[in-house]
Amino acid sequence: MNHEKKTPLIRLAKRDGMEGWKIWCIRCGAVLFALLLGALVMGLVGANPFTAYGAMVSGALGKKSAIRQTVKIAVPLLGCALAIAPCFKMRFWNIGAEGQITAGAIAASYFALFWADRLPAPVLLTVMGVAGAVGGGFWALIPAFFKARWNTNETLFTLMMNYIVIGVVQWLQGGPWEGRKGSQIIPQFDEAACLPRVFGIHCGWIIVLVLVVFMHIYMNYTKHGYEISVIGDSVNTARYAGMNVGWVMMRTMFLSGAISGIVGFIVASGANNTLYDGVAGGVGFTSITVAWLSQLNAFAMVGISVLLAVLSKGAETLQTRMAVPASISDIITGILLFCMLGCEFFIHYRLIFRKKKEARNG
């Protein structure tokens, strides 16, 4: 009896092998639930939810220029999700993509600002891309080295590294790279240092699509990819199999940082045409959502990053068109992400209620 009473009201049990259709039912249900919650919020501020969702969709996809803006948002999200995927597969919690993007952007911007008149455009852009990769890779290598050598906490370490490099950009903005005195703004890049446009959008979208294919192959069909997944499952197994875990960690983090660095180069050169402290703009964190939602599948990331971009651009239009506060748009985006991530919980666990135990078993 006593034992019975101590049973909590709700218990969790791991479940596996749920049928595919059920999984998708839960996911669709979660999205629907989020949309309804969002409608509630809109209702509270006095906006018609139907018009509001309509405004979001048409604002993100209704016009050629709107689609261009949406793709512009999706590109860094996708690129950065690709970058953190191998780390997460390895259970190495790299939440420093924000800083790695920024480090890559700084390295690329150096060449954009000081080598633009010395190199022809294709060479300059290549140099900027390589510099971005090396810059981002180097920034990621530091916490990886400490983790491999002294087993430091990579979550805190990578997070702290973000603030340092963003501080560096702020110093550059107000100091050595400042354009007009007192403006706190680094000048716009020379034409040669800006990524050319394809279909009206900077060609960074082509680069990230190539990276999608690369990452898919790298993770699934290479020895490196195999090592990463073994370490992710069990570090001890990897050791027993004779893998140099520290070395794999450093190599993977360098690759991850390098891709983030390339994203930094794409954003600075293609989208912003300059460098400022918000170059990463939260992408390093939002892309974690993208990576998780797509379960580290490179192709799924394309879809998820576009979805988030639609939300983000749509939220902007919502704010413009319906004159709701900007924070309402953020709340709606937040609700949707929360529900989408949260529903995975119901896929992996089931709730057992105390009284209904028998009924369930039956």
Binding site: A39, A66, Q184, I185
Partner: protein
């Protein structure tokens, strides 16, 4: 599993009910959001117009991109006041303005996105309210030749080879001069009454940055004060920020401790006024009436009234006419105004003197930067000074600004370019950012 789905479904149903409830209610509440009342104003006055005048009512969609929101009670708030006044005035002329406002936009690529967003929303005219917005506006303007773009307080439009970009500023130095007259009269009154000696008439000025816009303002202010109080001198402390309430208060406090008996400011907050009040000295303000926060110190303020420019630009767009790419007016057009005078503490006769000087400025009889009223480099009369800064590096490189016995501020471009240090003003520091 079935049970779980059932729970999920019932939750969805329950929520959809509440959501519909919310959706049904919003038709009544849709006018209740913050800026809706302003937006619906023209609609309310429209029927009256339509019946009486029956002129062709045009609707112009105007985008406004703001660095802050009206809560700053200073810079952006001042634009919002201009927006509201212009909307009202234009409605009377049969032009309905449909405003789309983007608040709290940063001076980075998000400004570019805001411009694109507004352009795609079908705005006929897009106004950028902050200095740092212009480079981003200029990236968008070439793609939308049919839309007019305005960068307030900036300076690239006259030379950027784009037909659809515009700059605007106001001759705020005129307002500064008048505020200086008010301050000078108070100081002279204190000297006459024996409260202070003649050489204790020291003004302390809290400046944001050592830029022409600030220098032009405090020089005009000083000249205004000296025109009625010959023994006055001034100390300037730069805080290195347009808006830093604490630093502004610290600077004002330090100036008062150095013996300044009058504080003025070119920064966004009201803390210099409250500090002056606490220190028992007097104050004149900027952007907003500060008498309410410092009734025993604040004498008067001056501010730009954006309404005349907004009316001018929007009317031009409505009529399909081109308008000035570089607009700058002052008291002649009502673009610079004084806030109410604090009669309780101002020197007697101040109001009459103000009216007199204002009339002289308006008619052009009085030049604020009359070269016979000040000297540079320890006694030299200013005979030549270059005006324009064409490459944006803050060093002047063309155009003679001194002619007809005065330095002509905001004559060649709307953005101020008077950046000289004149005798009698003591710069305690400099701040370029």
């Amino acid at each position: 599993m079935k049970k779980f789905l059932a729970v999920l479904l019932s939750m969805i149903l329950a929520l959809s009910l509440t959501a519909c409830g919310g959706g049904g209610g919003d038709s009544q509440t849709s006018g209740g959001t913050d800026d809706k009342p302003t937006e619906s104003k023209p609609d309310e006055s429209q029927p009256a117009d339509g019946t009486s005048g029956d002129t062709e009512a045009k609707t112009i969609k105007v985008g406004l991109i703001c660095i802050g929101d009206e809560n700053d009670q200073g810079y952006t708030y001042n634009f919002i006041r201009g927006k509201e006044a212009a909307t009202e005035a234009l409605a009377a002329n049969g032009i309905i303005v449909d405003w789309v406002v983007k608040w709290n936009v940063r001076e980075d690529v998000s400004c570019e996105d805001a411009n694109i967003e507004l352009a795609d929303e079908g705005c006929d005219l897009i106004i950028n309210n902050s200095f740092g917005f212009e480079p981003f506006m200029l990236k968008v303007a070439p793609d939308y030749p049919e839309i007019e773009f305005i960068a307030c307080t900036n300076q690239a439009s006259w030379g950027d080879n784009l037909e659809n970009t515009h700059n605007a500023f106001a001759n705020i130095y005129e307002g500064r001069y008048l505020a200086g007259v008010v301050a000078g009269m108070k100081l002279q009154q204190m000297i006459d009454e024996g409260t202070i000696s003649a050489d204790e008439a020291v003004i302390g000025y809290v400046g944001a940055f050592s830029f022409a816009e600030v220098i032009s303002g405090f020089t005009a202010y000083f000249l205004g004060a000296r025109s009625v109080c010959p023994s006055v001198s001034m100390k300037v402390q730069f805080v290195g920020s347009w808006s830093d309430a604490t630093e502004e208060a610290n600077a004002a406090s330090a100036l008062a401790d150095m013996g300044c008996v009058m504080i003025s400011q070119h920064s966004d907050n009201t803390t210099p006024a409250t500090t002056a009040e606490a220190k028992g000295v007097f104050h004149t303000g900027y952007n907003n009436d500060m008498i309410s926060v410092a009734p025993g110190a604040s004498l008067i303020s001056t501010r730009i009234d954006w309404a005349p420019y907004f009316e001018y630009a929007i009317t031009s767009v409505a009529n399909g006419e081109s308008f000035d790419q570089d607009w700058c007016h002052g008291m002649d057009m009502g673009a610079v105004v004084m806030t109410g005078l604090n009669e309780a503490i101002a020197a007697p006769g101040t109001a009459e003197k103000l009216a007199e000087v204002e009339e002289q400025i308006r008619s052009g009889k009085l030049q604020v930067f009359d070269t016979s009223t000040f000297t540079v480099n320890g006694g030299e009369t200013l005979t030549s000074a270059f005006a324009l800064d064409t490459d944006g590096d803050f060093t002047p490189d063309s155009e003679e600004a001194v002619f007809d016995g005065a330095f002509h501020e905001s004559h060649f471009q709307s953005a101020p370019y008077f950046a000289l240090s004149i005798d009698g003003i003591d710069w305690l520091n400099t701040a370029f950012g």
